[in-house]
Symmetry: C2
Subunit: 150 residues, 2 copies
DNA sequence: GCAATTCCCTATTCACTAGATAGGGTATAC
DNA sequence: GTATACCCTATCTAGTGAATAGGGAATTGC
């Protein structure tokens, strides 16, 4: 199960990406619309800004806007930001590989081989699908007035 | 990342499944061979017995044997035993479905749709590959004298 | 029939993390 | 120059992973 933090991040990102780029979305608005604890959401949005995904404006009419375009941001990237490595075993992570401590021969490990198959399939989807893809698949219905929840 | 508990369970199961069915494997032997804390492993093996996967014999020459054949036990089944639902969202789990609390329309949730794709791919592998498959893929080398680790 | 062996059961500990909550600091627009 | 909204740091709580501890119960071999 993914964390609430990650789930909130996706909700906020999809909301921001789906809105018109001209005006920023305030964290308080997002929080209210999606029933996310405001202070908690603020921390998340700051993380997304530090990661170079969002930009922010302060003061009246301030809020958050996309910094990078939505079709360059994959689900995998966002998920890794909040969950750390997605791999089921440290020895399967490409981005933060770590050897299993008491492993003698990695290339012969049955567990690694089987989880490698599964993880490959999982990762392939998450790293290829972007926020823009997700919005496009929404059957064309713009649900700005609905809560896009999970 | 999967838990140590699950990892230990796989090691033990693969060891038992790979050994000759005639004689039981003692928990202490498995623990020593794979560097698993003995008392911790005992708990795991009892869980596997309660799940109907292993059988046990007490006393001298006692130990554990497979109850169900290795080609009927999928990685998914074992993983669920120790990790609970594998789905990234409660609303995606078939075996223990739970609605997301603040979700208005599940069928329109972008997050659910995208993670559904990824999870399908992941689950498909884990639920189809069995312990026997894993042992068969081991390039024919019987590594009873090696630690099969992860 | 008894002692060694091995499985079995329950409780406890310790560190770590998720998931917030709290409170104020800082920049900006009007 | 004040309201607005982002930003930063600290703290709290419940839950969980990963063991450790200690003894009880069944079985086998002698």
């Amino acid at each position: 199960m993914i964390s609430n933090k990650a789930k909130y991040a996706f909700r906020a990102l999809l909301a921001i990406a789906a809105s018109s780029d001209r005006q920023a979305m305030a964290s308080a608005d997002i929080a209210q619309r999606y029933a996310i604890p405001h202070k908690f959401l603020e921390q998340i949005l700051v993380d997304l800004k530090k990661a170079g995904i969002l930009d922010s404006r302060r003061g009246k009419n301030g809020g958050y806007v996309m910094l990078r375009p939505a079709d360059t941001i994959s689900f995998g990237e966002v998920l890794r930001l909040f969950e750390g490595p997605l791999a089921p075993l440290p020895c399967l992570s490409r981005q933060s590989y770590r050897r299993c401590e008491d492993c003698i021969d990695e290339s012969r490990c049955d567990i690694r081989r089987e989880f490698g198959r599964a993880y490959d399939a999982y990762r392939r989807v998450l790293d290829s699908r972007t926020l823009a893809d997700a919005l496009d698949s929404g059957h064309g219905q713009n649900d700005d007035f609905l809560r896009r929840s999970a």
